[in-house]
């Protein structure tokens, strides 16, 4: 069943939803990355909640004009306008008053959403009927998706992606260093607004599939996921698009394969599964990689300290050190050094003495800064520099020649 869904064999509606969700996921992932890099991820929360009054007003206007209140383009235009108003309010609160951005976000999202709910109840009492579809915008409803809706989502998504492609460089610059961007003469404030505008476009496009509460997840989670896998912003953008698209596709497929699996939440949960996998298994920034790195470091410290202790004839009591040395074949079970162990210990002690000379010498200041107790001195100094240091150390002393 799931396989049928993944290969788009489950009928017309399921296919439309899968394609729409994939496109939405890609554009949300790509756009959300810039928001995330700008450290303003939760702005999307305010924008998405601020769409609700617009949807309601558009519905009322459409009904008043004698049309079908559920006309998707009309509702989307309404939601875009009110989201834009919300965005401007938020911007104004942050720039012109003493409120911090988080308070401005919270104020806009709660007030706009509250007002939207007032309008929703007004619509319910208007008694014009056919308003049932409006609650669908809260959590998305894909059951009745039409060809025209899918086309709108595809066009909106493609347009957003094209715009991102055009202004990706200034957006990246502003995200990483707004002061430098301003010094270069870029209109930082307007670029920020453009970025928010793109987020708004994605939000509006996504209303139909995942709804206004969960679109936030599609904007944030793929970007955070992608960030684990790369330090280069272009790659993060591409990976976020990929993660979002895959989550949309797989999520839509899963939700089509069984009853009672609403599309929006499933897409979010699939996306979160990607996030969890990345959090633990990403090669550089993942938790597993960090644990392995830590264990390797711990091992090196213990072996080094153990060797120094051996060289100075001290007994080792630390169980982990003993175990590591024994496993490396450097000591016997009773804690006495093997021949290799003695040789390595002697070298460790000699290296330590060499470092001591290096660190005492002003001429080696840059090299001395690299000392961390673990680095092999051969990796930072040349053969003849080491010979020079060895000459300073000299041979065994206090022994008659």
């Amino acid at each position: 069943m799931l396989w049928d869904a993944l290969t788009l064999q489950l009928g017309y509606n399921a296919t439309l939803v899968a394609i729409g969700a994939t496109l939405l996921g890609v554009s949300a992932g790509v756009t959300g990355t810039f928001l995330f890099l700008r450290k303003r991820a939760l702005v999307s929360d305010a924008i998405s909640h601020a769409t609700l009054p617009g949807v309601c007003i558009a519905f009322m206007v459409l009904v008043a004009l004698g049309g079908d209140g559920r006309n998707l383009p009309g509702l989307l235009v309404g939601s875009a306008i009110s989201a834009w108003v919300g965005l401007l309010c938020m911007n104004w609160l942050t720039r012109r008053t003493r409120l911090a951005e988080d308070a401005a976000i919270g104020a806009v999202l709660s007030v706009f959403f509250g007002f939207g709910i007032v309008l929703l109840t007004v619509i319910q009492t208007m008694g014009v009927g056919r308003q049932a579809g409006l609650e669908g915008f809260l959590l998305g409803s894909t059951a009745g998706m039409l060809w025209a809706d899918a086309v709108i989502i595809a066009l909106g998504g493609a347009l957003t992606l094209a715009l991102v492609l055009i202004i990706r460089r200034p957006m990246t610059l502003v995200a990483f260093d707004p002061e430098y961007a301003a010094a270069r003469g870029l209109p930082v404030h307007r670029i920020d607004l453009a970025m928010m505008g793109l987020v708004m476009a994605v939000t509006v496009v996504g209303l139909k599939i995942v709804g206004l509460i969960l679109i936030v997840a599609l904007l944030i989670i793929p970007a955070v996921t992608a960030r684990f896998w790369s330090d280069r912003s272009e790659r993060v953008v591409l990976l976020a698009g990929l993660a979002g698209g895959l989550a949309g596709y797989i999520g839509a497929a899963i939700s089509a394969s069984a009853p009672n699996l609403p599309t929006g939440p499933i897409i979010v949960l699939v996306s979160f599964a990607f996030f969890l996998a990345s959090l633990f298994f990403a090669p550089m920034r993942g938790v597993l990689a960090a644990v392995l790195r830590h264990l390797r470091f711990q091992r090196r410290v213990h072996i080094r300290q153990g060797l120094l202790a051996l060289a100075q004839g001290q007994k080792i009591y630390e169980p982990l050190t003993l175990r590591l040395l024994r496993r490396a074949g450097l000591v016997r079970a009773d804690g006495v050094a093997t021949d290799t162990g003695k040789a390595r210990a002697a070298k460790a002690l000699r290296d330590e003495k060499r470092w001591e000379i290096v660190r005492a010498d002003q001429a080696h200041e840059a090299t001395a800064a690299l000392y961390d107790g673990l680095r092999d001195i051969e990796t930072v100094l040349t053969r003849d520099q080491i010979d020079e240091i060895d000459r300073q150390i000299g041979g065994p002393q206090g022994i008659p020649a």
């Binding site: 991820a41 999202l109 007002f115 809260l138």
Partner: protein, 309 residues
């Protein structure tokens, strides 16, 4: 309006709304100053999965398991946010966004998967509550306030939210000095021996309790609005914390009362037949007050920033 009509139908919702507004606004003052305002947003989203899980475990709509479930979910969310922030080295906003959207999605999914058609449990209810339905059927007029038998029929939400309000007030009063110091200067607070980490956690938990109790009565949208709008508006009116808290309480009460009255009677004045959502109207009113404060408040700009900048 006569007492016979007002007391049973409007008095209790009005009181519950006001108590909820104050209980959220008090901790909200500190959250706004600490730039943690969106904690309220996160908590009110994760309450849904908590309530659904509690319903699945007990199989009934009963208050205490649900409150416990909601509180558990709130604490879980705070812990998860902190864990993801530290493990993944992600900025707090994004970590919060990941956690609360996922938990909310899980809540919606659970709700769809279980058969809740027989009970009154759905997403819309969770979002905007049903303040209007918390009526006091046993009351006949003002005299019922002294009638023990009628008082026993009060909606249980009222004593619960009143108790929460008392708790929140006590917390604020008892920890006033450490809260104030650590909010404005965390480093100094630590040097004089205040355990700021512990205090910060206590503040978040207090906010979560207020959110859960208010949520039970009035839905999550008021919770977010009341955490942020009254304190933010009060912040524009004064530079002193004591005055700010006083103002925020006044604003919270004003929004609750005007919001409720406008929602209940406003449409009737305009000639419409039915009332609109009180929760939404209260949030809208608090937003209007915030807008007024942001435009005309005497302390609305940052110190040292020119308004023309």
């Amino acid at each position: 309006m006569s007492g016979e009509e007002f007391v049973p139908l409007s008095l209790t919702p009005l009181l519950i709304g006001t108590c909820a507004a104050i209980a959220c606004a008090l901790p909200g003052n500190f959250l706004v100053l600490r730039k943690q305002a969106l904690i309220g947003d996160a908590i009110s989203h994760v309450v849904l999965p908590g309530i659904v899980v509690a319903f699945l475990l007990t199989g009934a709509i009963s208050t205490w398991p649900m409150m416990l479930g909601a509180a558990g979910a709130a604490v879980l969310a705070v812990v998860l946010i902190e864990a993801i922030r530290r493990l993944g080295q992600i900025e707090p906003g994004a970590a919060m966004g990941v956690v609360f959207t996922t938990m909310f999605a899980a809540g919606v999914l659970l709700l769809e998967q279980t058969d809740t058609s027989t009970v009154h449990l759905d997403v819309e209810h969770a979002l905007y509550g049903n303040l209007e339905s918390l009526i006091w059927l046993d009351a006949t007029g003002w005299s019922s306030l002294l009638d023990a038998q009628a008082l026993a029929g009060l909606p249980p939400e009222l004593p619960r939210i009143a108790l929460t309000l008392v708790g929140v007030t006590l917390f604020t009063w008892l920890f006033w000095r450490p809260l104030k110091i650590s909010t404005f200067d965390e480093g100094f607070a630590r040097t004089i021996g205040i355990r700021t980490g512990f205090l910060g956690m206590a503040l978040v938990i207090t906010a979560a309790i207020a959110a859960v109790a208010a949520f039970d009565a009035v839905g999550s949208i008021i919770v977010i609005a009341m955490f942020i709008c009254p304190p933010a508006a009060a912040r524009m009116l004064t530079n002193r914390l004591e005055a700010q808290i006083g103002w925020s309480v006044v604003i919270a009460i004003t929004s609750a009362v005007t919001g409720y009255v406008l929602a209940g009677y406003g449409p009737l004045w305009l000639g419409a037949a039915d009332a609109v959502s009180a929760a939404g109207m209260i949030a809208t009113m608090s937003g209007l007050i915030l807008a007024l404060a942001a435009m005309f408040g005497p302390c609305r700009t940052r110190v040292g920033v020119q308004t023309s900048a």
